[in-house]
Symmetry: none
Subunit: 537 residues, 2 copies
């Protein structure tokens, strides 16, 4: 039996069932590119039969050149109808995907209670729908919803459902623990029995209601399943789906299975963090493998042992999954990344060891304050070039004021800025439809007479993230701004307990970066944007 | 063999090794009372030999009348010394606890690398230290650190360590997967072998580095362990310890073991949320069993099935663990979600079909504008109750102004609010460390004279999300605010292209919700506070 496990990602479909998760078609495209780089085999994008957003996603996803199989999701045909006339199934075919998942009932209780039809009609619905997909040349996965509950309640019926899906030509039979209530031992036993009865490859789809989704998926693989369905960071309805960010390294580093390449596995941490940024869901600091504290050491005894040998308190080498060790008492992390970034910019790191040490300390200090340069290359580049004397001061901010006034139902946002440019003082004001927009307008108004090229820059993305959520309204916020000059895209960061100040800082950096001509340098993010057709020429 | 499992809580000791977790002696006492009410058998409070805070805790904990055994933690004696002269061991005895845990090495690699002593001396350290505790009449748990790694590397040595601890009189031999790298199958096999070799009861202590801590603890119990060590919400170093909030219900509701009483189990959700409040760590919304979304339903098909029978998409009855079902309202769901939410609030939906249709349209319209109610239950409840005439106007906002000024490196945020309360005009101002904080301060300042209970409310989470990111700084933002009054938590939403206005809206809703008495003021927390003498009369 092969030791290759097929990774089926459903972040974009089942993941969006999670509370607070809502992704635009644009967000989904960005995430799909990241998943593809991670090397997953299937990317389930949504249900093209259900809403316009998903139709748009499938339309655009065709042209981004994915290696993974783009997969659509849908239900079996409606009861007492014909698959060929089922608009939802027809739209799956029309979407042009190479693969699709159809969910159907395998628990008799659900057939009676939720579907309100007969056991025979349910089986006919499954057979017809799978056969329809196969007839149209689409790889078909059958998601047997509530399979384990169904099997425990009525094994003959649950098995007959799978048999009929197999007869219809299903390429995979995916056993779902939809309610997340099954234990690993039961999963192992039931999957083993199914494997002995059927020849079609088995997939496993688990949920985390007992905090056992990962263990259940592994138990199924050990019993012979060869496809695992899950989501990045375990997003999903209720307590979430099985977390691929834990399953993939467990399978590959601990159990001898093969999922993605060694290099792709190193993209795991970056992928997890990127998806959490796009979904705007705070990542638990201690998330296994990919969390910021997954290899962080706090206890004094632990730290002293770690300094002798990392293996004393680390179960794997963090770099295997793209993560890194952190010592909480003395932040030593990240230096090598910064050095390699400086070298990449052509800065002479070795000839300036004092300077390098200083800027290192400054960056460490900023990170401690909540700055994050992973998503703000331009701010990092400004910092580094500044330290090595490669920037000039284009303008100096003397002061800024922001007034927001709501009375009689009327809302006013006004920004007043005072800058020095070439020994001239510029003092001006502008309105906006919100405070950040007003500041942006005022800043441009002040600078355009000196730097008319500012008209070529536009802000293409604005994100706000609360860093220490527990401090509520007194918490620090991090603002990320993405700008573009029709050729290139760059990102800057600002941090403050004051959202206005943080936005101002990121705005100023963004404009300085462009006016200093640094935006000519290509960033990795640009390529993705081009592939997505986001860059306006 | 008994089916009673001894629950050993180490939230106050190993839990505090988690990043960002720091508990005062006062905090620890509050949590100890909650743990006691939950019915855990051991409460490990800290290391009385290590710091003053823990000494204070043990001193005061003696007089709060715990049913659980208060347990101290420490290491085996230093190498080449005498247990009776080991100040850390002596302080454990002096602390007057009925039980103590001693950690010692069982992995030969650690003896050489971390401890830097001989294998024989390590065994002598363990024997002497356990014997010293037993001689002083203390129940002794031996925590065999890295036991599974040790056993895999050198089974004879790992076993000889346990045998010697047994000979010294240890009451429990606790096998620790300290690095969290072991898989459930290995745990089961190794625990089974140990059980066959030794007569002393076995405990299990797992970590979550592979997202398998819960599964590993359950595997050990199935192999014969009878004590499980873990923490509330899985707090702990790196990826955390085994989460008792998942282990207890899994053992008791799914596997036929007995841990706490049926009534105590109903305190589980309240305990988890209380500890997260005290520890000031935000609880993941989808945390199994006890999370706010653990029984929340979003998908339209799920919701319509749930309304027919909860069992269709719930693995247990939520009330068994003190949690409850929630219906989320979102774009993915049909109107059935809103209707069932209204019914849940006791609003007469059927008798007011016109009103129901109106409010439905209004909610749809708000969602179109960017509101999202799935994460803002309280705002939705306010809307629904308002539509059915169940609210009163507590105060009216006449105007508010927000000034942010940065000059000479100094940052000022000032809010000015004008309210009408009971026909009186209140006009006041306050500063803050950011605009939202300043508004919060000003609003509270204006209202406290009319509603002193406002002091019981605090904001526990603040989230900002840019809705149409491509509009950059002119984009709309959605602000979510979570507030809490100790055991209850509610969330409100505000939307605007102006982040200040959106925050203001969510703030005002949050306070209205509380002052209208919709968040039932909690009594258990009060009682605990009274027992601790914390209540200011």
């Amino acid at each position: 039996m092969t030791n290759v496990i097929s990774i089926f990602d459903t972040t974009l479909r089942d993941g969006t069932q999670g509370e607070g998760i809502s992704l635009s078609a644009e967000d989904k495209l960005k995430i799909a590119l990241k998943l593809d780089a991670l090397g997953v085999h299937y990317i389930e994008g949504g249900n093209p039969g259900s809403n316009g957003k998903d139709i748009e996603f499938f339309q655009r996803a065709k042209s981004i050149g994915l290696n993974a199989k783009l997969t659509a999701f849908g239900s079996t045909r409606r009861k007492n109808s014909i698959a060929e006339h089922d608009s939802s199934l027809v739209r799956i075919v029309e979407s042009g995907v190479p693969a699709a998942t159809l969910v159907g009932k395998s628990w008799d209780f659900h057939v009676h209670t939720a579907l309100q039809t007969t056991l025979e009609e349910n089986i006919a619905m499954i057979y017809d729908s799978i056969a329809f997909l196969k007839h149209n040349g689409i790889e078909a996965m059958f998601d047997a919803e509530h399979f384990f509950d169904g099997y425990k309640n009525n094994p003959e019926y649950a098995l007959s459902v799978l048999k009929r899906a197999q007869e219809a030509g299903a390429d995979w039979l995916v056993l779902c623990d939809t309610n997340g209530g099954t234990l690993p031992g039961e999963i192992h036993e039931i999957v083993s029995r199914i494997r002995s009865e059927l020849s079609t490859p088995i997939g496993i789809h688990t949920h985390n209601d007992c905090e056992l989704a990962v263990a259940n998926a592994l138990a199924a693989i050990q019993a012979g399943a060869r496809q695992v369905q899950g989501t990045i960071n375990g997003y999903g309805e209720r307590c979430g789906n099985a977390n691929l960010c834990s399953i993939i390294p467990n399978l590959q580093l601990k159990m001898g299975y093969s999922c993605v390449s060694t290099q792709q596995l190193q993209a795991l941490t970056g992928t997890a963090r990127y998806v959490s940024e796009i979904a705007n869901v705070h990542m638990p600091v201690g998330q296994p493998y990919v969390g910021n504290a997954a290899f962080a050491h706090k206890g004094g005894i632990h730290v002293s042992a770690i300094m002798k040998d990392s293996k004393t308190y680390e179960h794997i080498v963090p770099e295997l999954v793209g993560n890194k060790q952190r010592i909480l008492v003395s932040e030593l992390a990240g230096q090598s990344n910064i050095i390699s970034k400086a070298q990449e910019l052509g800065l002479d790191v070795n000839a300036n060891t004092e300077k390098t040490k200083d800027i290192m300390n400054r960056i460490k200090d900023l990170e401690h304050q909540g700055y994050q340069f992973e998503g703000a290359d331009a701010s990092l580049e400004l910092l580094l070039r500044e330290a090595y004397g490669q920037t000039t001061e284009l303008f100096k901010v003397e002061s800024f004021k922001m007034l927001v006034d709501k009375s009689n139902g009327h809302m006013l946002s006004e920004a007043i800025v005072k800058l020095t440019v070439d020994d001239q003082t510029v003092y001006t004001a502008a309105e906006g439809n919100g405070p950040v927009n007003a500041m942006d307008n005022a800043l441009r108004k002040a600078l355009v007479q000196f730097y008319p090229e500012i008209n070529n820059i536009h802000l293409s993305d604005y994100k706000v993230r609360v860093i220490d959520e527990k401090d509520a309204t007194a918490a620090k916020v991090r603002v990320l701004i993405e700008s573009s000059n029709f050729e290139n895209t760059w990102s800057t960061v600002g941090v403050s307990s004051n959202v206005i100040e943080a936005s101002w800082e990121a705005l100023v950096d963004s404009i300085r970066y462009a006016l200093l001509g640094m935006s000519k340098i290509e960033s990795v993010g640009y390529e993705s944007h081009e592939r997505l057709g986001l860059v306006n020429h």
